[in-house]
């Protein structure tokens, strides 16, 4: 661990401020860079309301919603990862363990291959997004039901059920891919690699709202999430309603990650790596882990999205690929840190 807990406790407002500042910098970079370079003075004119209409249009209709969507999706993926790792008491857990991503992919595959609906949609959402969201919710609810009995939810059963349903959903997707034509295959594989180009006012508002609710629900339970790391019985002895905690974590993960995946494809990497990395720096206390995971998840995705738009502009790289390409080296360098060996 790089910063000891009593130092984190003492300088917490300062640490939080630095993190928010980094996020603002990343947001700023994302707004000015892209296929069309926008200068600082253009941005300033837009804020003042005196910019030319073409630039304003690019900022308002494209860059700004897209950046906000990246912030919300990155934050939701990271806090869901942190909460899942807490619930499974395993730093290697990931929201995809309960079948969210596999269910979403199967849902998207059904819409693309069976319903031939790729670009149409209702209420500002494509049918692919709706299918993915429905798929992820369906799989998570199956997994949760299978693992729950009258005496409560067994986390170990949930892990196995998640694994089984991931394979099942994977087979459904594979089967559909087998029968799909080239066009559909390409659409599906592009959707899988992730992209934030679907951002519009409605999707951004919804994602921000769901993200804010998920974060509040999880942050309120920060002590419970800490205590459950001691063990389920220990948490119960310390007055934690363990089943309520499990249910609220699962609902948050299903809704948050389900929506994130539906809007932006599978960007699985953030949920695993960001909380793990933040834990290496400030320790496992959810009081610090949750806010910092949210911020750095947002930073990583905003940064990755900026790169994906600029590296071979005007063509866009799928953001899921870029996220792993820049996230993995950072994580590997954290692992190489000698402090990690001591934990």
């Amino acid at each position: 661990m790089l910063i000891p807990p009593h130092i984190v406790d003492k300088y917490w407002p300062f640490i939080l401020l630095v993190a928010v500042f980094i996020l603002l910098c990343a947001t700023f970079l994302s707004l000015v860079h892209g296929a069309l370079e926008i200068g600082i003075e253009d941005l300033w004119r837009w804020i003042n309301g005196t910019g030319d209409s073409a630039t304003n249009l690019v900022i308002e209709k494209l860059r700004f919603p897209r950046t906000l969507l990246a912030v919300a999706v990155g934050a939701v993926l990271a806090i869901s990862g942190a909460a899942t790792q807490g619930l499974f008491r395993n730093p290697l857990a990931d929201p995809s363990l309960v079948g969210v991503s596999a269910g979403a992919t199967a849902g998207a595959a059904i819409v693309i291959v069976l319903l031939h609906q790729a670009n149409t949609g209702i209420w500002g959402f494509t049918f692919v997004s709706l299918g993915a969201f429905a798929g992820s919710l369906a799989v998570v609810s199956f997994v949760y039901r299978l693992a729950s009995s009258r005496s409560g939810t067994r986390v170990s059963t949930m892990l196995l059920a998640g694994l089984a349903f991931t394979f099942l959903a994977g087979s459904v997707t594979g089967l559909l891919e087998f029968f799909a034509d080239n066009e559909q295959l390409r659409r599906l594989s592009l959707w899988r690699m992730g992209g934030l180009d679907a951002a519009n006012v409605l999707s951004v508002t919804l994602m921000l709202l769901v993200g804010a609710i998920c974060f509040s629900v999880l942050y309120v339970q920060k002590n419970a999430l800490n205590v459950i790391l001691l063990g389920e019985s220990e948490a119960r002895h310390l007055g934690i309603r363990v089943n309520l905690l499990k249910r609220s974590v699962i609902v948050c993960v299903a809704a948050g990650v389900g929506l994130a995946v539906a809007l932006s494809g599978t960007i699985a990497f953030i949920g695993l790596i960001i909380p793990h990395g933040v834990r290496l720096i400030v320790g496992p206390n959810h009081r610090y882990l949750l806010p910092l995971s949210a911020i750095f998840g947002a930073v990583l995705l905003v940064f990755a999205d900026t790169l994906s738009r600029t590296v071979i502009a005007p063509t866009e790289l799928p953001v899921g690929l870029v996220t792993a390409l820049i996230g993995a080296p950072v994580f590997i360098s954290l692992l190489r840190n000698k402090h990690y060996a001591l934990q």
Partner: protein, 263 residues
Amino acid sequence: MPCNKALKIRQLSYSVSHKQLLNNIDLIAECGQSTAIIGPNGAGKSTLLKAVSGAICCTASEMEFCDKNLKQWKVDQRACSVAVLSQENSLEFPFSCEEVVAMGRIPHSSGKLKDRAVVQAVMALMDITHLQRRLYTQLSGGEKQRTQLARVFAQLWPDREDDSSPRLLLLDEPTAYLDLGHQQQLMNVIRDFATANTAVLMVLHDVNLAAQYADKVVVLNEGIRIAEGKAGEVLNERLLSELFAADLKTFHHPETNRPFVYI
């Protein structure tokens, strides 16, 4: 309100896949006293403690603490009066020692200042003040055990000086991993807690520790309570030799005159 200050258990039974692990156990552990459960491996000692703590579902005609049904007590209220130390502690996340101890204060809403004072006090009691900033995952077995004990003591620490509400402390092998000095220190702390209106029910492997420090001894064998009472009255050569299927000799401690077992 008249309150009979004791843990009262009648006809407690527990079976798992047709194997009766606990068979009609009756037990009373009074506030102000420490009660030790002893018995050979697999006698049901830890199972009994788990049944009382609510970690497993058992059947009992009566299971009350101070006339409150333990099963119907709300978890968050219960956590203010009942603390449990389990045998296996599997924390694998690098919290600092101080953070782990502070988790014991989560059921209470006594304020940050009071909590910090309690954490400092229990860490001093368990001789881990010098470890407070070390990571739990880096501690030795004995240091981890003392940290968990400090957490449990912090949970039962009274919110106010004049608070003497009855409390229940359940400890499963509290002396595991501890060296002789820390065993003695711990038994003294447990005795002090007991006198401060706490009913202590603990599983002890070391018959001598139970004989020297516990006010009462409960002897379990194959899920059946075979004896209960003061150590001097219950623990004799014949019972212990039969219980542990070993050739044991008992003497009397020169100072306390309590029984002392020799292998």
